[in-house]
């Protein structure tokens, strides 16, 4: 097999798929390395069309599996229908110095098969807030640097949404939006009436509500509102690397996709003073092979990208590739998902809904937006849904028999579920590092996670509980009850940072084009590059940064700069 390429992309998930697409379209011979097995769109979705009763335990996991895999079992999407797309705890161990639920999908497509598909653009405030308010890292780019790349990505991915005209959540290139139900509309109105700074919208998500030519060309069709997405979609209704970017890249003839390839490290050439390739261990045979390229894109997912750089040691970089600042692996942050509020609503019993909507109502962040005026740093985005109660209300009932069956077979009263997706402050002490002693099956050092909540998270959580409850109260909701899930960082599956972007090589690893300051033919464009977490969903930003960096790299390669 050919060992030399124009570009090597490490990882085939949501950002790696984008790197592959952009490079292959521009004529670059591209090798995509994926540590897991291959998953082909449609062919490898064994559960996609199964009914609930087709699963031995109706999609719940056996006790022994949950006992043996406590981390992945805590993920809401892990069940009999999806377990083949999740890494089991024992398959790639890591060391939790502090509790961290690291949820992983090791296969072609990575977690893009499993993601929750919510795609909000970051606003200028999300990018400016850290430097303005003195937390996290200063972003070397502004909203204007990325706006066109958001558009570029959105058009290809296919995103449903409403043009809401909000400064705090910029509009994008939208397909028709999903609809709110009667109670959600009622709560939306109540919040708008009572708060000048709060404007709930229907969530924006990567689903083809009305496919365009570019989506049909990808072989994808309209979302059927099944909401069984994590099994892989037989209609190509949602965006994944498998359904979209990877087959698109393959069609150019420039892609070499190589599964079962665990990247050990990036090889640094001391004389050329740049990276020259990648050292790969075959997942199954454990055989080592080296591949070479002019440019390397690191898209292995946040923590694994950190791990690979930390393990890429050379005379020039004894502490990990590009790690002159000593900050590699530090300033890891995530989204705080601990806050939940439930409530009930009386009324609108004469309305119902149809189809299973793959999004929720979203209230963009309204805290610390224009100035830092709260006792905490950062903000939070609220998600909420209203649904009519199901047969499950029958469990607590003291009734049984024919009338009982009849009653619980009908939709019950409305209930409301609300949650916060809260920004967390990246801190130097929140870090990952390599173990000196423990190695994995491939002889690669195990990762140690040392990431935790802090006082800021508690203040922000209390603010959400107060504000969320007040808003629901003003909307006439009852039985309002708050709950701290107490979950560990990581279960949000929004881990970010460790190889952060920034204007200053003393305090960051990557420049404004996602190049390592100290080794400019290595780019990191997955979650590891994030200078702060913002409060809106991050995947769209990973994709836009990747497309932007890839196109920059192509230009530089053509100019002979890379």
């Amino acid at each position: 097999m050919e060992k030399t390429f124009d570009v090597i992309v490490i990882g085939s998930g949501i950002s790696g798929g984008w790197a592959a697409k952009e490079f292959c379209e521009k004529g670059m011979k591209t090798l995509v390395l994926e540590r897991g097995r291959d998953v082909k769109h449609l062919e490898d979705y064994p559960t996609a069309l199964k009914n609930p009763w087709d699963f031995e335990h109706r999609n719940r996991m056996p006790h022994q599996v949950r006992e043996a895999n406590p981390i992945v079992s805590r993920c809401y999407a892990f069940g009999e229908a999806t377990e083949h797309f999740f890494l089991k705890d024992t398959e790639h161990p890591y060391i939790q110095e502090k509790p961290f639920d690291w949820i992983r999908g090791y296969q072609v497509g990575g977690k893009s098969l499993l993601w929750a598909r919510q795609v909000q653009r970051w606003s200028k405030y999300d990018f400016e807030m850290p430097a303005r308010d003195g937390f996290g890292g200063e972003w070397p780019i502004t909203y204007d640097d990325i706006a066109n790349w958001y558009s570029h990505v959105e058009k290809f991915v296919g995103i449903s949404g409403n043009k809401d005209g909000l400064e705090t959540l910029p509009d994008g290139e939208f397909l028709p939006p999903w609809e709110m139900n009667a109670v959600e509309q009622h709560i939306q109105s109540a919040i708008k009436e009572n708060y000048k700074d709060r404007y709930p919208i229907i969530g924006r998500c990567a689903h083809l509500t009305e496919p365009k030519e570019v989506h049909l060309e990808q072989g994808r069709g309209q979302c059927q509102a099944r909401n069984l997405c994590e099994r892989g979609c037989p209609f190509g209704g949602y965006f994944s690397s498998n359904s979209s970017t990877i087959p698109w890249a393959e069609k150019t003839g420039n892609l070499t996709l190589q599964p079962d390839s665990v990247v050990h490290s990036i090889i640094y050439d001391e004389t050329q003073r740049k990276a020259k390739g990648v050292r790969v261990i075959n997942r199954l045979t454990k055989e080592t092979t080296e591949y070479f390229a002019r440019v390397i894109f690191l898209n292995a997912s946040t923590l694994n990208s950190n791990l690979i750089l930390l393990n890429s040691k050379s005379d020039r970089f004894p502490n990990g590739l590009g790690n002159d600042s000593g900050l590699l692996g530090k300033y890891i942050a995530f989204h705080n998902y601990r806050g939940e509020i439930s409530a009930t609503y009386k009324g609108y019993e004469d309305t119902y809904y149809f189809g299973r909507r793959p999004t929720a109502v979203m209230l963009p962040n309204f805290r610390n937006v224009y100035r830092h005026d709260m006792p905490f740093k950062g903000g939070y985005q609220i998600h909420f849904t209203a649904t009519r109660k199901s047969w499950q209300r029958g469990i607590a009932s003291d009734q049984f028999g024919a009338d009982f069956k009849e009653s619980i077979s009908k939709p019950g009263d409305w209930s409301i579920y609300m949650m916060a997706q809260a920004e967390t402050v990246p801190k130097e002490k929140s870090h990952v590092r390599l173990s000196d002693t423990a190695v994995d099956e491939w002889g690669i050092p195990q990762l140690i996670t040392s990431v935790d909540y802090d006082e800021n998270d508690e203040l922000l959580l209390q603010d959400f509980f107060k504000q969320g409850s007040d808003m629901l109260k003003k909307a006439g909701c009852e039985n309002i009850s708050t709950r701290d899930t107490g979950q560990a960082p990581g279960l949000d599956i929004h881990e970010m940072g460790g190889v952060r972007m920034g204007p200053d090589p003393e305090t960051s690893l990557l420049n404004k084009w996602n190049q390592l300051h100290a080794c400019n033919n290595v780019f990191v464009t997955d979650g590891a590059c994030m200078s702060s977490t913002g409060s809106h969903n991050p995947s769209l930003t990973f994709m836009a940064l990747t497309a932007r960096a890839a196109n920059f790299a192509v230009d530089e390669m053509k100019k002979g700069e890379l």
């Binding site: 069309l49 009914n51 609930p52 009763w53 031995e56 335990h57 109706r58 719940r60 996991m61 056996p62 006790h63 022994q64 999903w178 609809e179 709110m180 139900n181 009667a182 959600e184 509309q185 059927q224 509102a225 099944r226 909401n227 019993e349 004469d350 309305t351 119902y352 809904y353 149809f354 189809g355 299973r356 909507r357 009519r388 199901s390 047969w391 499950q392 029958g394 469990i395 003291d398 049984f400 028999g401 024919a402 009982f404 069956k405 009849e406 619980i408 077979s409 009908k410 939709p411």
Partner: protein, 187 residues
Amino acid sequence: MKRRTALSNLSLIAGGSTLLPHLMLSGCETKEHPYALFDIGDTELLNDIAETIIPETNGSPGAKAANVGDFIQRYVTDCFSPIDQKVLLDGLAKLKTEMETKFGKTFTSLSPDQKTDVVRGLEVQRAENPQNAGPGAPPHFYHHLKSTILFGYFTSEQGATTALRYVPVPGEQKGIIPYNGEKAWAL
């Protein structure tokens, strides 16, 4: 679960005396009962309790037709924690003994009114069970039983497609449609 492990669990849970009839019974059968924690007669018992809670109604088969009794044994065997298994199995054993003592026959042989009375009694026991006696206090066995019956029934083909409206591929979504007393969506 390996049969030997299951048997040793059972002897810990229920004691040797209840183990004996089970072994005798399974020894006589040519086909072994697939759920080692349960007796072969439990499928019928569980189906009959389930049918009392979710009976056949107009145009909709009940829990027995959906064979919820079989599902409960599979689900309890594979998905319950050992603690919850013990609560359920102890409760079931106690119920069987009570039927013998009180009626001199099995639950299955009772009249419909008697079955209703027994289940009503279980509802009362559950309501009186001091679930909030302390942190981690186990729920009454009937709570586990009822929740598994409802789960098993409404996710079965019979339950999802006749008691509820099952639309595997909606094709579209509507935020608001009028509601006039129809059945709920299954998913």
